[in-house]
């Protein structure tokens, strides 16, 4: 079976080049340079139908950028993104449309992700009508049905977003995604802004929907607990690159990459009392000028000279585990 979504060597670079005035200034000896942010750098992985892939990483490491490319609001600068085996470039109009509709997104901020000037019915039903999934006259019932699925009564249809609590809003966002009958839902920090008890409700809802419709999720989060709970496979990102990917059991029980290990060691857990916190020193470097070699080496306690020189690639080790660490694989040849 071909994967639903497959990413091969996807990169995204944001370039801001100097404008005319700055170029003239350069002639006069100033130094305005092009800035390049490599937000995502050669990322490859697949998402199979019905699979939940968790994507974990620090702030600014490129998770959202990756998510935006997957849903198609941004084009990758290089690499191939294939949907149901067809690469983006080769898609026909219809296939492209299908991809656009079949991948939907749920956002972090439940306040900003709903148009404050639209009623729930329109928020949820608008796109389905426009794309001809339903007729305008069917919208009411269609939306009512969706709202029921996400655990809201149909009576909320005429309200505006501000009349809901955060958890309810997130459900509306989910209903909106469901309305296009997606196959893959990208959840970009979809539960981070919610209270614990509400988080649990929403997580449960994700699970339920997955069982009911067979969705696949790309579940972006920095909450390791939630990822561990919901994901089948987990991908760890660091400064634009994947550093480790594997099944949830593998990664959480037996992390290979030093970064993953540090993450897990430091995550507070309910069962760790009087924990002695010993942090990874330093902070994630700026993607504007990433360090040479392995991006993690400045914070890595085990870093060697090789780490400072060579960029490790994501490779599978003897036991088939995929990591990007020179310590794990030895220097590449």
């Amino acid at each position: 079976m071909t994967a639903l979504l497959s990413l091969r060597d996807i990169s995204q670079t944001y370039v801001s080049s100097p404008d005319l005035a700055e170029r003239i200034a350069n002639l006069a000896g100033a130094n305005y340079r092009e800035t390049r942010v490599r937000a995502v750098n050669g990322v490859s992985f697949d998402v199979a139908e019905g699979e939940v892939v968790g994507l974990v990483g620090e702030s600014g490491c490129g998770k959202s950028t990756l998510g935006r490319m997957v849903v198609g609001v941004e084009r990758p600068a290089s690499g191939t993104l294939a949907w149901r085996g067809t690469a983006l470039e080769d898609m026909t109009q219809a296939e492209r449309r299908q991809w656009e509709l079949e991948v939907q997104m749920i956002f972090q901020d439940p306040f900003a992700s709903l148009n404050p000037r639209m009623r729930v019915e329109q928020i949820v039903g608008e796109a389905a009508v426009i794309h001809g999934l339903i007729r305008r006259s069917e919208r009411r019932d269609y939306v009512a049905d969706l709202l029921n699925k996400v655990g809201l009564g149909a009576d909320v249809m005429t309200r505006y977003p501000h009349q809901f609590s955060g958890g309810q809003r997130q459900r509306i966002g989910i209903a909106r995604a469901l309305a296009l009958r997606p196959k893959l839902i990208v959840c970009d920090e979809a539960i981070s802004a919610l209270d614990v008890s509400i988080q649990a409700q929403v997580l449960n809802l994700f699970e339920d929907l997955r069982h009911e419709f067979g969705f696949a999720y790309l579940f972006i989060s920095h909450d390791l607990g939630a990822v561990e709970h919901i994901a089948d496979r987990v991908a760890i990102m660091y400064l634009g690159r994947l550093v480790e990917i594997g099944t949830a059991d593998e990664v959480f029980e037996n992390p290979r990459h030093p970064y993953t290990r540090a993450l897990l060691a430091e995550a507070p857990r309910l069962d760790r009392r009087g924990q002695k916190f010993t942090p990874i020193e330093g902070e994630i470097p700026s993607p504007l000028n990433p360090p040479p070699g392995c991006a993690f080496h400045p914070r890595c306690t085990q870093a060697t000279d090789a780490c400072r020189r060579q960029v490790p690639t994501l490779r599978s080790g003897k036991d088939g585990r995929l990591t990007a660490c020179i310590l794990e694989h030895g220097e590449p040849v």
Partner: protein
Amino acid sequence: MSVAVDTPFRRFASDFVASPLAVIAAVGLVLIALMALFAGVVAPQNPYDLAQIDILDGSLEPGSEGFTGFRYWLGTDEQGRDMLSAMIYGLRISLFVSFVAVTSAVLVGMALGLLAAWRGGWIEGVIMRTVDIQLSFPALLVALLLLAALGKGVDKVIIALILVQWAYFARTVRAAALVEIKKDYVMAARAAALPEWRILFGHVLPNVMPPVLVIATVQVANAIAIEASLSFLGVGVPITEPSLGLLIANGFDYLLSGRYWISFYPGVALLVTLVCINMVGDHVRDILNPRMQR
């Protein structure tokens, strides 16, 4: 966070009525607008129909009776024109000029501002540079030069005001739209592959309207004031269609003469109108600013 069942409009309305002063101003404004709109019906005479006025009734004091038995409640000017009627018609012209100018400026500015925010690139560059240029130039001066070049006339004043004001709106709309466009609901709309025009006009536009409306109210007041100043400098509306501003400017010649009413009442009318507009605008701004809500 209350989950009361009400609409944004109802909330707005209830917030609005909480300030009695603003309500008074709003009511005053509505009355003024109605008076201006139905000037032909409300005003005792048509001061610009030369057949209706008589120079024999010139410069009468408020409350005096003309030789045809007509009573001039606010007196007459030297042409024998009923000041009350002149004021109402002047109000009409002032409001008409400012309203048409601001509405057009809003439309132009909004379209260009949205375009700039959405498209970016060189389109944004061109539009925003033009806005900068426009804004770095004082409104009054632009209007003054324009009118010197175009000559007098209500239509020309309107053109001058549009030219002077569109940039404010373009800038505001672009700034607001840039914020809105970054919000996730726009991303959601794009993820749902909605057509661009629909995102722009259905989603972004309604959300940039509130600041635009607030500025618009202030700009209406501003337009009235600019127009008055232009008339004072002698390049505003023609004397045959005097706005309130022109009435005041003309009447200033009479201030020291004891015939205060020729300038005084239009002045009061202008002041009341502008204060009402500004008060309503201020209050709306306060309500719409979530940070001002406690």
